[in-house]
Symmetry: C2
Subunit: 138 residues, 2 copies
């Protein structure tokens, strides 16, 4: 059973997770940069790719990915938060606009100066894309 | 620059990560079960699949996967540890025997009673498999 404090913490983590997908959807590099941790070590697997290590490498790819692309909504379906002290793992499914979700994602956040900031992202292809859930399942 | 204590902690995390691949390679369900956290919440993405939530669901699939299969070595190439307090993220590439690594993996460990235990595994297909590194790169 979740304690009240866990509910509050989970909401804060989900807020950080939402900020990731909002930054992507808006092509907002400044917001994306602000979300990723500054001091904690960061890593990132883009779909199908090799690991990126360190803020410069990770943010460099986000800058490239977010510039000059057609705008589409990157959805985060069925986000699930698991708390591990000052670290939190969010699992979810990523889909574009109303298409079925085609990526499984692991997003890891860590507390930095009282803020949940992203320290790891791993998105990888799913064998069977998942239809967008109805709002009640979200 | 890494502190001496970080080097010691990283070695302990790598030991837990090795235990995961050893348990898989040996088809050793008892070792796999022992590795996963008992109290901390656990989650798992098998390649291309949907998220498994909770020890029963996660271990249930490992029991199935580890029973009655042909034995092959599941390698963990280029493991990289990133420490976040009492949580650690290992990224690596997974390959079978001497084949190129075809999966990118995120393994998350948390301290439970002084032991690093697995709390999350995410393996997903790579677009371009990576040849097995020479030992010097490992």
């Amino acid at each position: 059973m979740l304690e009240t404090t866990d509910v509050v913490i989970e909401a804060a983590v989900l807020g950080a997770n939402d900020a990731f997908y909002r930054a992507f959807t808006r092509g907002d590099y400044a917001a994306m940069s602000d979300l990723w941790a500054e001091r904690a070590p960061v890593t990132c697997f883009h779909p199908g790719g090799q690991v990126l290590v360190g803020r410069s490498a990770v943010l460099g790819t986000w800058k490239q990915l977010l510039s000059g692309r057609s705008t589409f909504e990157l959805r985060c379906d069925r986000p699930l938060v698991r708390l591990h002290g000052d670290t939190a793992i969010v699992t979810c499914y990523e889909g574009s606009d109303n298409d079925p979700a085609h990526l499984a994602a692991t997003n890891v956040f860590a507390l930095e100066d009282g803020r949940w900031r992203m320290v790891h992202h791993h998105a990888g292809p799913m064998s069977n894309p998942l239809p967008r859930p109805s709002r009640s399942l979200n």
